[in-house]
């Protein structure tokens, strides 16, 4: 609990602040990257920084600089990352090499070069090298105030970059052809997006590892997308989700002895993703399941009311209900749910020994549905030339979903005709 409130001592506070800032920057940049369909480029960039780090280390020791100075290592990583971006784009332009293969090739071959350079580093200075393990998993627990300043600065640059160019980026991500034709700076925006990805990756590497940077770049945007349909809101939400993942994740990992910070942060954002996937309004699994159940209930209820209307009665007895249920293969649970939902909607009165009495609203609804049914069937037969005997499925479905305006149009077009036939 103490860790969650920034009172867990200086070290913990440093880590909390650092990972939150990183999450924020990654969420923001990742959102743009996802819209530009560049999510996994970050993966390649992350792995491709290894030769940069090892190379910088070797060069620094050769020319007599401090091999472990952070700016030198980060510069090396950034150079390698930019090179990897250039190579990916060149490869993807070659015949017969598609973008996915290009990303995979750069990711693994750059990493291989890194492994070779790293073994040279380890041979030269066995104690001075950061292990490969840290590179991949990260060592967030050892974050220093200096690291937080670096991350803070990078987060600031990313936020500024995305804020400044948010409109341009939106246009370029949405419709490149239009952006080209309209004179938007397409190439520049692509470059800016790439540079921002590189910045975030390099900032995150040392502290949280490659895989976690990728996770923070990918998971928060996908989660944010579940909650909103708006571009700006999605950017904000993605940044907030990234920051939350970083904050909560490192707080939890500080509370447990062995928990690796990077992994816990990813899992935190994973949990946020799963929760959103389940519970988000509209796009969530629960919401769409509920929508589908309610739709089925509404249609089923309509069938019941319509049957009553067809039978010319405003009463529904148990036998009639069982007949409908058997015809439509409803089980007992669904049957009861249909009745319950009709009662909740005020279309059916409470049960009496003779059965259920339709409310005036229920009778009206039944009549309207029946009318729509007739109009639609007439429309299909007259205008769409579908044989009258075959309109089953669509009439069954459509009569319940047409809006008032469409029904009105049907009424004006065909109403007189249906009426005439019904009379005859």
């Amino acid at each position: 609990m103490r860790d969650l409130t920034l009172r867990g001592g200086f070290n913990t506070s440093t880590v909390l602040l650092g990972t939150s800032l990183l999450g924020l920057a990654a969420g923001l940049v990742g959102a743009v990257a996802m819209l530009r369909r560049r999510s996994l480029t970050a993966d390649a960039i992350g792995h491709a920084t290894l030769p940069g780090l090892a190379g910088a280390f070797l060069i620094a020791s050769a020319v007599g600089l401090d091999q472990r100075s952070l700016p030198v290592l980060l510069a090396g990583a950034a150079v390698a990352a930019l090179a990897s971006v250039a190579v990916i784009q060149w490869l993807a332009r070659q015949p017969r090499t598609h973008e996915d293969a290009a990303i995979g090739i750069v990711l693994s071959v750059f990493f291989g070069v890194g492994v070779v350079l790293l073994s040279l580093v380890q041979n030269k200075a066995p104690k001075g090298s950061a292990g490969l393990k840290d590179f991949l998993f990260g060592q967030a627990a050892t974050m220093l105030p200096g690291d937080v300043y670096t991350i803070g600065a990078i987060a600031g640059v990313c936020a500024l970059g995305v804020l400044l160019f948010r409109r341009e980026m939106a246009v370029v991500c949405f419709d490149r052809g239009f952006a080209h034709a309209g004179g938007w700076p397409v190439a520049l925006m692509d470059a800016v997006i790439m540079v921002l990805i590189v910045l975030v990756t390099v900032a995150g590497l040392r502290n949280v590892g490659v895989v976690m940077v990728v996770a923070l770049l990918v998971i928060p945007p996908v989660t944010a997308r579940l909650w909103t349909e708006r571009y700006h809101r999605m950017l904000m939400l993605s940044a907030a989700l990234g920051a939350c993942s970083g904050y909560i994740g490192s707080a939890i990992s500080a509370a447990f002895e062995h928990a690796p910070t990077g992994a816990v942060i990813i899992l935190t954002s994973g949990v946020l993703f799963l929760v959103s996937l389940t519970a988000a309004p509209k796009r969530g699994v629960l919401a769409s399941a509920a929508r589908s159940v309610f739709l089925r209930l509404r249609i089923a209820g309509d069938h019941v009311l319509e049957a009553a209307h067809d039978a010319g009665t405003s009463r529904l007895d148990r036998h009639g209900l069982m007949q409908i249920a058997a015809d439509r293969r409803w089980n007992a649970l669904f049957r009861n749910a249909v009745i319950l939902s009709l009662q909740r909607r005020g279309l059916l009165k409470a049960r009496t020994p003779e059965g259920w009495q339709l409310t005036p609203g229920g009778t009206g609804r039944g009549a309207r549905v029946a009318r729509t049914h007739e109009l639609w069937a007439e429309y299909l037969v007259r205008r769409a030339d579908i044989a009258g005997t075959h309109v089953g499925w669509s009439v069954d479905q459509v009569e319940h979903v047409l809006d008032a305006e469409t029904i009105q149009r049907l009424e004006t077009e065909l109403g007189g005709h249906v009426h005439a036939r019904a009379q005859a």
């Binding site: 017969r96 919401a287 069937a377 007439e378 037969v381 579908i386 005997t389 499925w393 047409l402 249906v418």
Partner: protein, 276 residues
């Protein structure tokens, strides 16, 4: 009461549908196909007459390809059923050939024209067996029949569009099916290919086969085909070309959409939240 009233019963119940002749190579019963609950094809009912060349025509987005894919089970049916010689597809798969649209495959794929034609024989070869000499020979004969004998060893990407289409046709020939469903074989082909396709189609008919072709060129329909299905989200008319190719029918097929049909499709999709 109008007729529609009497049809309110559970979907998929075929007992009271009009009798379909078991001889028909392809019987479509009240087929409705929906993508994400948005119907693109409504209540199609059609019996293909055996041994004829049938054109499926209609404007863009009329559901022509969907009709064929629905028959072959490549897209799920929202309602209805399809039978081949009175049997489900599963039992007659070997007798049904399919020619997909040219754009659906990766033409950079490392196979030669002959390899692709051999794929038509897979149903006859069986699992895990190599492609035998007689199958290769059969495939080569099919390539010859579409006039591509000399290109057998070319990588398919190095063929022209028309030649690629002819390779697909040869693959269908190699399958030796009794019913063929072809999706836009005439799209964007040169004159030589068009002639080759027509020759093959006529040959198929002469040997008693049935061919259903999605076609976009109205002018050639009466020349190439015996029967036609006019399609625009639903079957407007179907039957011998001479009977269905009337100005009224064509106007109904091409003269704008049935806006209400589209709106109803939208409403269905919206009701389920699929149109987000």
């Amino acid at each position: 009461m109008i007729q529609g009233r009497r049809t309110k019963r559970p979907v998929g119940d075929l007992a009271d549908r009009p009798e379909h002749s078991p001889q028909s190579p392809l019987s479509i019963h009240a087929m409705t196909v929906a993508y994400n609950r948005r119907p693109v094809l409504w209540d199609v009912d059609y019996d293909a007459p055996a041994g004829s060349l049938i054109a499926v025509v209609g404007p863009n987005g009329a559901g022509k390809s969907t009709l064929i894919k629905g028959c072959l089970g490549l897209v799920p049916l929202a309602a209805g059923a399809v039978e081949f010689w009175g049997q489900p597809l599963r039992d007659e798969r070997a007798r049904v050939g399919y020619v997909p649209q040219r754009e659906t495959v990766d033409w950079d794929f490392p196979v030669s024209a002959l390899d692709v034609v051999c794929m038509g024989r897979y149903g006859k070869i069986g699992w895990c067996r190599p492609i035998g000499r007689q199958h290769r020979k059969a495939a080569r004969d099919c390539l010859d029949r579409v006039g591509l004998g000399e290109y057998a060893d070319r990588q398919i990407g190095q063929l022209s569009g028309g030649q690629q289409q002819r390779v697909f046709l040869a693959r269908a020939l190699a399958q030796e099916a009794d019913l063929y469903l072809m999706d836009e074989p005439f799209a964007g082909v040169d004159a030589a290919t068009e002639r080759a396709i027509v020759d093959v189609l006529r040959e198929m008919r002469a040997t008693g086969r049935t061919v259903v072709v999605v076609h976009h060129d109205l002018q050639t329909v009466p020349v190439y085909f015996d029967h036609a299905v006019l399609l625009n989200m639903r079957v407007v008319a179907a039957g011998p070309v001479s009977e269905v190719f009337t100005t009224t029918n064509l106007q109904q097929t091409y003269g704008g959409r049935l806006t209400l049909l589209s709106e109803a499709a939208d409403a269905l999709a919206r009701a389920d939240g699929a149109a987000l």
